[in-house]
Amino acid sequence: MTTLFAVYVLIWPALTLGVLVLICRAVWRDRREARRQRRSLV
């Protein structure tokens, strides 16, 4: 029960961290491509 509740609470910050990494990597790639094409990121 204790483990179950620990997972239930901590899974959300873990997922948040995963999405944060994914978004940062994607923005980094977008930025590199924008620079190569000599245009603004947005």
Binding site: T2, V9, L10, W12, T16, V19, I23, V42
Partner: protein
């Protein structure tokens, strides 16, 4: 810690925190500032936003200050399943709109607002109904976010509520005014990174500071049977179901979503919205868990105000630096939504009001930019005034919710079914609003045959919601089947029972009535619409300048249809 006051920052600390946040955000926008912005970039960043920025912006926009407070309140009120019943449905709003978003984008790849698409499909009356619902929604959102800033500043410092409202309003306007949507999406990324990083730290920090999983499990004894039950019917009916009903309505009625649908590169719509769904759900449910922690510990909200729950927990268990982080978390979330609302409002006034109904196809991009920026200034002033005087917006909120529910079916059907007419769209929305009011304000007693009549309409509404959701992902046959099954299930289980939940009944009635009227009137019409014509009528505005320069004959802008029919 029940009676412990919240940690207080000095006036100087709060001013420095606000100055650092808004000053830093403003400096960020200087990097993308152009001396001469163009109207299309100002509204949708030329439809070229990448996956990373798009997903970050969608997530940050959808998370507003109320998300944290309401998720924690839900956790505190409904127990174990509470945070899920807030965060999950909010996340699904993002997910369920993307199949329809892809259709919108296919029909009008160069649109800036959903209203432009509806204008090309039906004309002004339907478009203005949609634009009005978008405008009211964004004004309310702006006001709520400024209110949250005022409340936060007044709770954590000696500064007044009004001072917080004015600082937030001015700060957001300052960095959004020049570059519009481009500034909004870029700053959304920075704000989301801060927001996520803080959430990742704060949730486990509070959890372990309060005693960790063993303390949480030991505290389950403080919960009622319903609160301890993960499948609580109470949580479903009072929190989950009303939210579920609003899933499609919020997404259709919110220009901040459609603006991003039209801004992200077409091939990135799906991953963008999927990522935003997970990101939103994770942050909001995670912070909602702090409400559950407070419940298990037996914490009473300070002054009976549920909005104090998270600050209380952070203040009670963590050192002051975490309270500063929480402060930034809330300011970041409300600012990212407020700047998106300003961009949405400006796009509606630029494209839907000025472009389609005042300039009537002869829009001047420079004048559009002026309209957009003036809209931002006026909207910020309205938001600050409404928030400062704590005006009661409940009635406005109720009507906007009803309007959003009433337009869902007509908007979606108009994009898939060539028989829907302008009269069917407009009449169905107006009739649905009227029937909604009858149910919501109980103008007639909801008992006997009358109650049954509204429950049947509500059941149709339930079938429509399920049917549309399934249709979006699995197509027409599955949609009709699921909708039919849901309707039958609702008729069997909800009649004689739904009338006790007036808010839910009224919302479902709005869906059911608008669908019924729209379908009957459309079936009676002989019109057949050619969807390909939408693409020809909805175009970019700044192409006018190129065309005008190329012919060098006049300084008058060329009408939009000419620019897009090349």
């Amino acid at each position: 810690m029940n009676n412990a006051p919240l940690h207080q920052f000095s006036t100087l600390t709060v001013i420095l925190l606000m100055f650092a946040f808004y000053g830093g955000t403003y400096l960020l926008t200087l990097g993308i500032r152009k001396k001469k912005e163009d109207a299309d970039a100002f509204m949708v960043s030329n439809h070229r936003v990448g996956f990373g920025i798009g997903a970050a912006s969608m997530t940050a926009t959808w998370i507003w200050a109320a998300s944290f407070y309401a998720a924690a309140t839900s956790g505190y009120t409904y127990g174990v399943s509470g945070p899920i019943h807030y965060g999950l449905w909010g996340a699904l709003m993002i997910l369920f709109i993307y199949p329809f978003g892809r259709r919108f984008r296919k029909l009008a790849p160069n649109a800036h607002t959903l209203g432009e698409l509806i204008h090309a499909r039906h004309g002004s009356s339907s478009q203005l109904i949609l634009a009005l619902s978008n405008l009211l929604g964004s004004i309310i959102s702006l006001m709520v976010n400024f209110t949250a800033a005022g409340a936060l500043v007044s709770v954590l410092s000696p500064l007044s509520f009004q001072a917080g409202v004015i600082m937030a309003g001015t700060g957001v306007l300052l960095y959004t005014l020049w570059s519009g949507f481009r500034a909004s999406v870029l700053t959304d990324f920075a704000q989301l990174v801060a927001l996520m990083a803080i959430a990742v730290v704060i949730i486990p920090a509070v959890f372990f500071a309060m005693g960790g999983p063993s303390e949480l499990v030991a505290g389950l004894d403080n919960l009622s049977a319903e609160q301890a039950n993960f499948f609580s019917a109470d949580a479903v009916l009072n929190q989950g179901a009303p939210f579920f009903v609003a899933v499609l309505a919020y997404a259709i009625g919110n220009q901040t979503i459609s603006q991003r649908l039209f801004a992200v590169k077409e091939e990135h719509i799906k991953p963008t919205f999927l990522t935003a769904t997970i990101g939103y759900g994770a942050i909001v449910i995670g912070l909602g868990m702090i409400g559950l922690m407070a419940l298990t510990l037996g914490v009473e909200p300070l002054n009976g105000d549920m909005n104090n729950l998270i600050p209380q927990m952070v203040s009670g268990y963590l050192p002051p630096v975490f309270i500063a982080l929480f402060f930034i978390l809330v300011i970041g979330s409300l600012s990212s939504t407020a700047d998106s609302d300003l961009s949405a409002l400006s796009a509606i006034m630029m494209a839907d009001v000025y472009g389609k109904n005042i300039a009537r196809g002869k829009a001047n991009p420079e004048r559009m930019l002026l309209v957009g920026r003036l809209t931002m200034i006026v909207a910020t002033a309205i938001g600050i005034i409404f928030a400062s005087f704590s005006l009661d917006i409940l009635v406005m909120l109720v009507f906007v919710g009803a309007l959003w529910g009433a337009i869902v079916f007509p908007v979606i059907a108009s994009c898939f079914w060539n028989r829907v007419t302008n009269a069917a769209f407009t009449t169905s929305v107006l009739v649905a609003m009227l029937v909604f009011c009858v149910a919501r304000f109980e103008w007639v007693p909801l008992s006997g045959v009358t109650g049954l009549f509204f429950e049947v309409l509500g059941s149709i509404g339930g079938g429509v919601i399920i049917g549309l959701m399934v249709f979006g992902f699995l197509g027409r046959v599955a949609g009709f089947t699921a909708g039919g099954l849901a309707l039958v299930a609702m008729l069997i289980f909800a009649t004689g029972f739904l009338r006790d939940y007036t808010v839910l009944l009224a919302s479902l009635t709005a869906y059911g009535t608008s669908t019924l009227v729209c379908v009957v009137m459309s079936l009676a019409s002989r019109e057949r619409f050619d969807f390909d014509s939408i693409r020809e009528q909805v175009g970019n505005y700044d192409e006018h300048i190129v065309d005008a320069e190329s012919v060098e004959s006049t300084k008058e802008p060329v009408p939009a249809p000419l620019a897009t029919q090349r």
